[in-house]
């Protein structure tokens, strides 16, 4: 059955009538319905000629969030009578922008200030080519994560560049943190109001996110039914295989999709923070959308109490008036700030700048909302109906003399027991999809937990009886202990669904051996597969692995295609455009 949150504006009769209907729908049906209802809810304005009022919603997306938001913006605009279109940066040519009257840009930032993978070509064009965008009015909504140094960098870059090319900014850019629904809603309301003040008040479309399906605002409490370590005794790693029961929740997913998990913070981290702040934890604080609760509980459940960012430090400075912090936050101290934040968490900042502690309200005021963590799904819904599986590496390390741990990974590893329920929702990832044609061969590169979606891919293709060949490259630290899902791969090889398996284990020999080395060893054959139409997928670490694998790929195409580097790069771009080179990297 479908459970409405308490604040849903329905009486019990309506609830019981809607509930079974909604439960029977899959997520795309629900998404469509929510958009439809959202636009239908806005009263159509008659008597105003809007036919000529063109609007382009241009989006660039990595995880699919911007696409969802662009779709909401599109529907809201159409609801107000705009002749609106929605375009993915991956499909749009820069020249198409000149002559546009109205432009909305919704774009996210990844890793170290990078544009989304599929938008990279457009972004490069925009940054390097000179086209006149005079006459274009625009506004930008940027998505990002304040815990990264280059927060919303792509949005900022595009904003600046559009202005340089002559476009006029009609509304200040909105930068959204991971909890983007509300700021996006505000931006959309204001943006609509600017172009159509007579038709809309800024508040009217604030709440455009769907509330009726399980999603970010309304996660499904999925029961953990299995949790096993994938590393053998003797390993330095701690990788978990987790199975959640989503049977009957009406949540559907495809291989490549992502499961978002809402964690709680660790009690000892909360404890340390309270101690550093010289607080007890029983002080009552007001938590947005969650009412009043004891500080300790809020720290555990509601706030991001670890990720250090300029934004958090700024609020801490404002709350405490720390002179040291003020200096650190000046433009001149930029590098110093960066160095300070590296490897540190909020706890360190409180230790270092507010040794005498602060009030409960002041402390609560510096945090952002605890965001969900995203994990590539490791199961095929066809192979495991009613379940969703994850492959999660528990993150633990030391820095600046303290033990650190990943919030969600250690939440899942240490504190969630089989039988417990964890709030989750599915997020689509249309940029990481199996080829529609089951005959198409695929090459998968997934070291470490990057293996997750490929477990789903192979299971899915097996279940569908796809004839296309499957080649997997995987790796980790040690063969004996870290060969994730080894028995399953052996079964897949035996059954013939997996055609080739190449492994790279970095710490088994004096030299480090990684997947890119295996790719290079098999270069001729990889090139042959690509020539025969293979799709290539990469999942895992973005900072190094994905870069090294990409370099290996360029070198393979260059060597075996007998072309120069530029031509090889061109080929890579072609592969990306044709969705034959897809990446899910983080």
């Amino acid at each position: 059955m479908f459970t409405f949150p308490d604040h849903a504006p329905f009486d019990s009769t309506t609830r019981s009538a809607l509930s079974p209907l909604l439960a029977g729908m899959d997520s795309s049906q629900r998404a469509w319905l929510s958009g439809f209802l959202a636009s239908a809810a806005t009263p159509a304005v008659s008597g105003v000629d809007t036919a000529a009022e063109e609007l382009m919603v241009l989006y660039g997306t990595e995880s699919g969030n911007c696409e969802i938001l662009a779709d909401r913006a599109l529907k809201a605009a159409r609801g107000l009578g705009f002749r609106a279109r929605m375009r993915n940066m991956s499909d749009v040519k820069l020249d198409e922008l000149s002559g546009m009257k109205r432009l909305w840009v919704i774009v996210s930032t990844w890793g170290d200030g990078e544009p989304p993978e599929t938008s990279a070509g457009f972004y490069r064009d925009l940054m390097t080519r000179d086209v006149s965008l005079a006459g274009v009015s625009y506004s930008i909504c940027a998505l990002g994560d304040t815990s990264y140094e280059k927060f919303c960098q792509t949005g900022k870059d595009i904003d600046k560049r559009l202005e340089e090319l002559g476009a006029s900014r009609v509304l200040d850019r909105q930068d959204c943190d991971v909890d983007f629904d509300e700021p996006f809603g505000q931006w959309l309301g204001q943006a609509l109001a600017i172009w159509s003040p007579q038709r809309v008040s800024a508040q009217a479309v604030v709440d455009v996110s769907p509330k009726t399906a399980y999603g970010k605002k309304n996660p499904y409490p999925a029961e953990l039914v299995e949790s096993v370590y994938l590393n053998g005794e003797g390993s330095a790693k701690e990788t978990l295989h987790l199975e959640f029961d989503i049977d009957g929740a009406g949540m559907s997913y495809e291989p490549g999709d992502v499961l978002a998990v809402f964690p709680h913070n660790a009690p000892d981290v909360v404890e340390d923070l309270l101690k550093a702040s010289r607080l007890q934890g029983d002080e009552m604080v007001q938590v947005k959308n969650a009412g009043e609760k004891p500080l300790a509980k809020a720290l555990r459940e509601n706030y991001d109490i670890t990720a250090l960012s300029r934004s958090v430090l700024t609020k801490l400075q404002e709350a405490t008036g720390s002179e040291d912090l003020r200096r650190l936050l000046t433009d001149e101290a930029k590098d110093e700030l960066k160095a300070y934040m590296a490897g540190r968490e909020i706890l360190d900042a409180i230790h270092d700048f507010v040794p005498s502690g602060l009030s409960a309200d002041a402390l609560a005021g510096i945090f952002r909302k605890l965001p969900p963590r995203l994990y590539s799904i490791a199961s095929s819904p066809l192979a495991h109906p009613g379940q969703v599986h994850l492959t999660v590496a528990a993150v633990r390390y030391q820095s600046h003399g303290r033990e650190r741990k990943g919030v969600c990974s250690t939440y899942l590893a240490d504190r969630v027991q089989v039988g417990d329920r964890v709030p989750v929702f599915i997020q689509q990832n249309k940029n990481f999809r199996l080829p529609a044609d089951g005959e198409t061969p695929i090459i998968m590169v997934g070291p470490g937990t990057g293996i997750a979606p490929f477990r789903a891919f192979v299971e899915h293709r097996a279940a569908l009886g796809c004839k296309g060949k499957n080649w997997l490259f995987m790796g980790d630290q040690r063969y004996l202990y870290d060969f994730l899902y080894q028995l399953e791969w052996q079964d897949h090889l035996k059954s013939g669904i997996l055609n080739r398996l190449d492994v790279a284990f970095s710490r088994d020999q004096p030299e480090k051996v990684y997947v890119q080395h295996r790719l290079l060893e098999q270069g001729a054959e990889i090139y042959e597969w690509l020539k025969n139409g293979a799709c290539l997928y990469v999942c895992g670490d973005a900072a190094r692995m994905a870069v090294d694998v990409n370099d290996a790929l360029v070198s393979i195409i260059q060597t075996h295609g007998q072309m120069d580097r530029d031509a090889a790069l061109e080929q890579i771009e072609e592969l990306k455009k044709a969705k034959r080179y897809q990446r899910d990297v983080y």
């Binding site: 053998g232 063969y479 080894q486």
Partner: protein, 577 residues
């Protein structure tokens, strides 16, 4: 009868193998699994490696969606146990880079590396060869590492004897190119027609074959437990030849009385020049007359026992084309090592260190491996692995002695042999967790058991009285238990058969004293005997001799007598069979 004449499965594997190639090369390149095929595992032994798995981890692996923790043991052949400092450093390096960080000195004077995973197997074997050592025929149905006494007192004689050991080893090394092809990227032969295996032929021997060279009065190599031994005869400080002993062996199977350990018979004498020829012809006799239908009856000791030593001698003389001479007088007084420093006539020093269980390993309290590495960096002589899993640092020049002494002091190795004489005369095989055959602990348990027994010995003033004590995890006998004065052979986890009455010089077989004794009852079982021995032994009477005189066990005369005359109370233990 047809079953009797059917060749054993391993014979078929050898025939199919194309001179030991099998599909090892293909198996090595499949990294979806850390194991090789069953047939290739058998063939791999000829190349000096056993596939094993960590038995401690077996239960949990499947839960982690992992196969068994497969790895390989690599046995490095060191004829006579003599290795250069450079070779020591290379083995030490490989122990870290490819194995489990330890070096095992074996009871056959070989190095063993444990825990080498499949993806590193080829590279490790290649690097062993680059260090001028090899692994071929370290295991398998061929002649294994040729052992030799490292006696430093007669360094001139040792040099002569080690040359003979090396010559025998070289002569009996399999000729197949398979080893070079698989491990050393040697050129592939066009066809197997070109392979010549002059001595062995394509089915090699029916079973493993073990050769030693001994220098009396030390029987450290345990000539009575080997297939073929050459006992050096020294007259007027000169090596004049060897007495030849045949048909010793240890292995047996629980609950199978057709299997038994057997002492070698000394059948004749040969000159130094004849030794290699004699070795070859004895091997040929076994090749031609050994039992290829039953691997439990295939060792040379059964050929000798079934046909009689006289028949063997006659056949050997026929193969040689001349007759062995009559046996010359010889005497063995012990089979243990002599620890500590000795100086030879040339002024060089030799130091024998006690290595518990032959395991060269660093612990926080005892950084043995690091210390030996430091010594290897400065040592100009050689290292000699003893047949008792110990280590001699040999031919230390007067100039380096003080440097080495300083290192020994610094790493706490100087007093390695300040232990009870019982411990210094102990021997244990590897057993759990890696050996696939073991039924019980050995190397990991014997040191603790000795600690328990030491309490009794100390109390009764026997700390300095040598008693040979050996433990194996299974009845195959790698640590030569059946000729020890006290022996423990694994029956089941935590249970051992206890044997007593072996000869102090390895010259007599032991007899079953109690069957399947729980480990925690061993001390109580042996305490009264030790007390009795302390009180009533005669002058210089050995513990093994005493056990027979006092009637704890009957004397075992020869292999066929091993399962006979066992006292009724020995079988009383209520053990699971």
């Amino acid at each position: 009868m047809s079953e009797k004449t059917k060749l054993s499965a391993n014979e078929e594997i050898k025939i199919r193998s194309n001179f030991l190639r099998g599909t090892i090369a293909e198996g090595l390149s499949d990294l979806s699994t850390g194991s090789l095929s069953a047939d290739d595992q058998q063939l791999l032994k000829f190349h000096g490696s056993y596939q094993q798995d960590d038995r401690d981890l077996r239960a949990a692996r499947r839960k982690h969606k992992l196969e068994k923790a497969y790895s390989f043991m690599i046995r490095v052949r060191v004829p006579g146990g003599v290795a250069t400092p450079t070779q020591w450093l290379e083995v030490d390096r490989m122990a870290d880079q490819f194995a489990n960080g330890t070096i095992k000195l074996t009871t056959r004077q070989a190095f063993q590396l444990h825990g080498v995973i499949k993806s590193n197997l080829k590279r490790t074997i290649r690097e062993i060869n680059q260090a001028a050592m090899d692994t071929i025929a370290a295991c398998g149905d061929v002649n294994r590492n040729v052992m030799c006494n490292p006696n430093p007192h007669l360094s001139g004689i040792h040099a002569d004897v080690i040359n003979v050991a090396q010559a025998i080893s070289d002569h009996l090394t399999p000729q197949t190119r398979a080893y070079h092809e698989i491990w050393l990227d040697g050129e592939k032969l066009e066809s197997s027609q070109e392979e010549v295996e002059t001595i062995y032929g394509k089915t090699y021997l029916p079973r493993k074959f073990k050769i030693t060279v001994a220098i009396p009065p030390s029987n450290d190599v345990d000539i009575y437990a080997n297939c073929l031994s050459f006992i050096a005869v020294v007259e007027n400080d000169e090596l004049v030849g060897f007495n030849v002993a045949v048909g010793g062996g240890m292995g047996s199977t629980h609950n199978n009385e057709k299997t038994y350990p057997r002492l070698a018979d000394v059948i004749g004498f040969c000159t130094v020049d004849q030794a290699v020829d004699v070795a070859e012809k004895v091997v040929l006799v076994q090749r031609d007359f050994g039992d290829r239908t039953d691997r439990k009856h295939a060792r040379f000791k059964y050929t000798v026992d079934d046909r009689g030593p006289e028949w063997i001698l006659a056949k050997l003389n026929e193969y040689l084309g001349y007759d062995l001479g009559p046996v010359r007088p010889f005497e063995f007084t012990h089979n243990g090592d002599r620890y500590g420093w000795v100086e030879d006539a040339n002024g060089n020093s030799h130091l024998t260190l006690f290595i518990q269980g032959g395991r060269v390993i660093d612990t926080a309290e005892y950084p043995l491996r690091s210390g030996l590495r430091e010594i290897a960096k400065v040592h100009q002589g050689d290292f000699r692995l003893t047949a008792n899993q110990n280590l001699m640092i040999a031919n230390i020049s007067p100039a380096t002695r003080s440097v080495i002494e300083e290192i020994l002091e610094r790493y706490g190795i100087k007093n390695s042999h300040e232990k009870s004489a019982l411990r210094l005369h102990s021997l244990a095989c590897v057993a759990l967790p890696t050996c696939g055959l073991s039924l019980a602990e050995a190397e990991r348990y014997l040191p603790d058991l000795i600690t328990e027994l030491e309490e009794v010995l100390e109390e009764h003033g026997l700390r300095h009285d040598a008693i040979t004590i050996r433990m194996t995890g299974c009845p195959n006998g790698c640590a030569r238990p059946y000729i020890a004065e006290i022996a423990f052979v694994g029956r089941a986890p935590g249970r051992y058969n206890v044997y007593l009455g072996g000869g102090f010089a390895g010259q007599r077989l032991a007899k079953l004293y109690r069957e399947s004794v729980p480990a925690d009852e061993i001390k109580a079982l042996l305490e009264p005997l030790i007390v009795h021995y302390a009180r009533e032994r005669k002058t210089d009477e050995r513990f093994g001799d005493f056990c027979i005189r006092a009637g704890y066990v009957n004397e075992t005369l020869q292999g066929r007598d091993f399962h006979q005359n066992i006292k009724a109370e020995a079988l009383k233990a209520t053990a699971p069979h």
